[in-house]
């Protein structure tokens, strides 16, 4: 199994964090992983992208050019993501912010209202975790189960009080698809 994912949005949405946590959880589940971040020079609001590969075998190219799954977190990222996602791949779209319909007919389209779900849980900032839950459910590449100890080892102790909320967001994302 090799799953190449491409995540795109704007700076501040937690795109790089999502990529980082996705591969970290993959690594903890025994997979080979690689993540390449790309972002603009702006402090906030610039482009943010993460190319992630998780695999049961040695990973060849760390550059994700034709992803199996593409995560579209904002409207501006749609043309890029729908332009590169593999035939028969999956487009995961944050329908809270992406209102345009995709032109792609040859791949699975999964819409998740990430921001709405996140706000219901308590904070719009965890929209990325909602999406990560959805990505897990749809691809099955990283299971994201037995997550609490993994999140505890990922985040410094000062952030542990946010873990419960993040777990809820990931579960909500899984249930939304």
């Amino acid at each position: 199994m090799t799953e190449k994912s491409f995540m795109a949005g704007f700076g501040g949405q937690g795109i790089i964090s999502m990529g980082q946590l996705w591969v970290y959880c993959g690594m903890k589940e025994g997979l080979e992983v690689t993540m390449f971040p790309f972002y603009g020079a702006e402090k906030r609001g610039g482009i943010a992208r993460a190319g992630c590969v998780v695999s049961t075998t040695e990973i060849a190219s760390p550059l994700v050019t034709t992803p199996d799954s593409a995560v579209v977190m904002n409207e501006d990222s749609l043309p890029l993501c729908e332009g590169i996602v593999k035939q028969g791949g999956t487009l995961l779209i944050n329908s809270s912010l992406v209102k345009t319909e995709t032109k792609r007919k040859d791949c699975r389209v999964v819409k998740v209202p990430c921001n709405e779900i996140a706000e219901k849980i308590g904070d719009g900032k965890i929209a990325n975790m909602v999406m990560m839950g959805a990505l897990s459910k749809v691809t099955g590449a990283v299971k994201l189960d037995k997550l609490e100890p993994v999140l505890k080892s990922f985040f410094p102790p000062s952030k542990h009080r946010f873990i419960e909320m993040n777990l809820k967001a990931i579960e909500a994302g899984k249930s939304a698809v």
């Binding site: 690594m27 990973i59 190219s61 760390p62 550059l63």
Partner: protein
Amino acid sequence: MAEEKRLMKGNDAIGEAAIRAGCTAYFGYPITPQNELTAYMARHMIDHKRTFIQAESEVSAINMVFGAAAAGARAMTSSSSPGISLKQEGISYACGADVPCVVVNVARSGPGLGGISPGQGDYFQATRGGGHGDYFHLVLAPKSVQEAAELTFEAFDLADQWRMPVMILADGMIGQMMEGVTFPEPRDLEKLPARPWAAGGQYKTHRPINHVSSINLVPDELEAKVHERFLRYEQIKKKEIRFEEVNTDKADLILVAYGTSSRVCLGAQQMAKALGIELGIFRPISLWPFPYDRIAALAAKGKRFLTVEMSMGQMVQDVQLAVAGKAQVSFYGRCGGNIPTEEAVLAEARKLLGK
């Protein structure tokens, strides 16, 4: 091996590996895409009660490395392409004075200030003695975060063993990407190789007052010194050549690439296999000394070569030297901070094979 695998950026992993290798003094100056490495050393060298200095420039940093290493420190500096150009004078001096040190180049696109995206256009500079005068030094090119850590750890010992700077030639992709990595046990500073040649006269070392310098104004003496060094280079060529091969026995066309491009080539090789096309990979790990003999042996078996680089074609000249006109050598490259894609490399290989 009790330690858990960690998810780290290449830059951070190089820093951690250097600390574990017993690096006692780091001197740097910030530049993208290697900043995390300097930052990692700033954060962790002090904790280990070792020396960290952010110098006022790259030139200053490499001269601090020269001074510290000449006085017996396991010294290191790191930078990215334009900064490495500035360090060349100091690297030449270190080579001329036989001073061991480690220099990391997390290369970006050029020439000039160029861009901050990954590049492999520093191959000539790294492998031909990028400063003035007759010299070479070891150059090792990692393909992954794990290998970046391993080669950095080893570089310090190689530097001591051969009395020369060792360069880790990574690129912005290796520096910026995150992968799983495990580290070897930290070296005991009390058990590092002895440096009886280092500048002495201090209370702690009891070394004689050695002079460590590259200068010699007597032509015959300087010539003898250079000859002695080149005899050492011949030893290095016998002992330190490293490379990795994939499927070179079955395939007629072999992709030659190092660092990030070699990973892309591996992807293309796997895609080709799924189409029933055999491709081989030859990945030099030591760029100097270069594995000429092994490539020549593959050429003698009738293999063809496609060199893939993130440059306009630099290592390809070494492949041509190796095959000495006995095999076809083609080239595919991207530059400007662009990375070749698996699809493009595969298309190039298929064009050559007519399949």
